[in-house]
Subunit: 188 residues, 2 copies
DNA sequence: TGATATATTGAATATAAATTCAGTGAATAA
DNA sequence: TTATTCACTGAATTTATATTCAATATATCA
């Protein structure tokens, strides 16, 4: 293995484990030594790759931002179908690519107060609610989404999804709900 | 003011402010000095009333447990109406008695990993999900609640409410969603 | 092969926040 | 009135954890 490969592997390894621990235990509750112990490396090595705990967190948020920039195109006829497919995708990722799931939760958590302002602003630059509100507007015109302020509906929907995903991180053995239970929030 | 009254007033004052800060900023992110500064008292006084930050947290959870023990009786004809009234009550409390709202969020957060085990167990002793699942079963028999595992439905519903409430703590200026949007998760 | 750069360690240090404590003044009890 | 208890303060101490750093091992390069 070349040094470059080794370096990339380590960084990937560290970021994935940090992501997992940050979303399951919380940022403050996760010690640097928790991460290094879980990977069976020294704390020093972690600081060799990342300047600080906060810098590690920031690089995770930047990774999330990247992922948000190139969203997979979702085809839909009815606007409601867009939400159904999105949730199916998110919930489907839970087992095979848990990091997709973790990242979604991380980005939401990074928008909260208490997070260093520069990182928070990064996370806030992904306007999930606003984007979905536009699709909700279409749905209201086409008649498959209920009446009401599109932004408020969008917010209610995504906050619900957030709540459900956070619970699933804690008790992954318990199955995720059916997608149509959640999209019922929007359905006319 | 007698000493007894003074003492009770201080304790109430400290607990309310701690409750507010713990749920809005998070437990670890809230410094003892944040609480004392917000109340304009010394940190020493806080330790005069509470042995430790953790003990303060525990007494809050115990207070939540008390409140959960004597729930207000909710009258309902259709089981779904029980959920509608519960949410109306919770959302209605948001402005006038924010502590009701805060306490609900605190109890949910106290069930998460990372919380000292004894406190976590206390919080887990309130079986919100199980209790609601029974009412959901009734609703399924009477036909006003959708089919599906009652516990899973109950979990999805309360996790959604949790997600919405947590968001509202962060952006209280933004209105809470309509109750029927949320109960749509359960409605047949 | 020798020289240099990089990965890695873990003990030492720095830092931030929790906790203690000795002292002050006001309320209560004798 | 005097003695005792309690509310209260904030500087000093302790503790937990992030961060640094000197040393070692391994890979890369000339």
């Amino acid at each position: 293995m070349t040094r470059k490969e080794q370096k990339e592997m380590r960084q990937k390894q560290i970021m994935l484990k940090a992501l997992e621990l940050f979303v399951t235990k919380g940022f403050s509750e996760t010690k640097i030594s928790d991460i290094s112990a879980a990977l069976d490396i020294s704390v020093g090595l972690l600081f060799h790759y990342y300047e600080s705990k906060e810098a590690l967190y920031k690089s995770l948020v930047e990774m999330g931002l990247e992922a948000a920039k190139r969203p997979e195109k979702i085809e839909y006829n009815e606007p409601l179908e867009y939400f159904t497919k999105t949730i199916d995708g998110l919930f489907g990722a839970a087992k095979e690519q848990p990091w997709v799931f973790w990242m979604f939760v991380l980005m939401s958590q990074a928008r909260r107060p208490g997070i260093p302002e520069d990182i928070r602003q990064l996370a806030l630059s992904v306007d999930q609610i606003g984007f979905s509100a536009d699709i909700i507007k279409q749905g209201q015109e086409q008649g498959d989404i209920r009446d009401g302020d599109p932004k408020a509906l969008s917010s209610a929907f995504w906050c619900s999804v957030q709540g459900i995903m956070e619970q699933h991180l804690i008790t992954p053995e318990y199955p995720l709900p059916e997608t149509e239970w959640i999209t019922a929030i929007l359905k006319k």
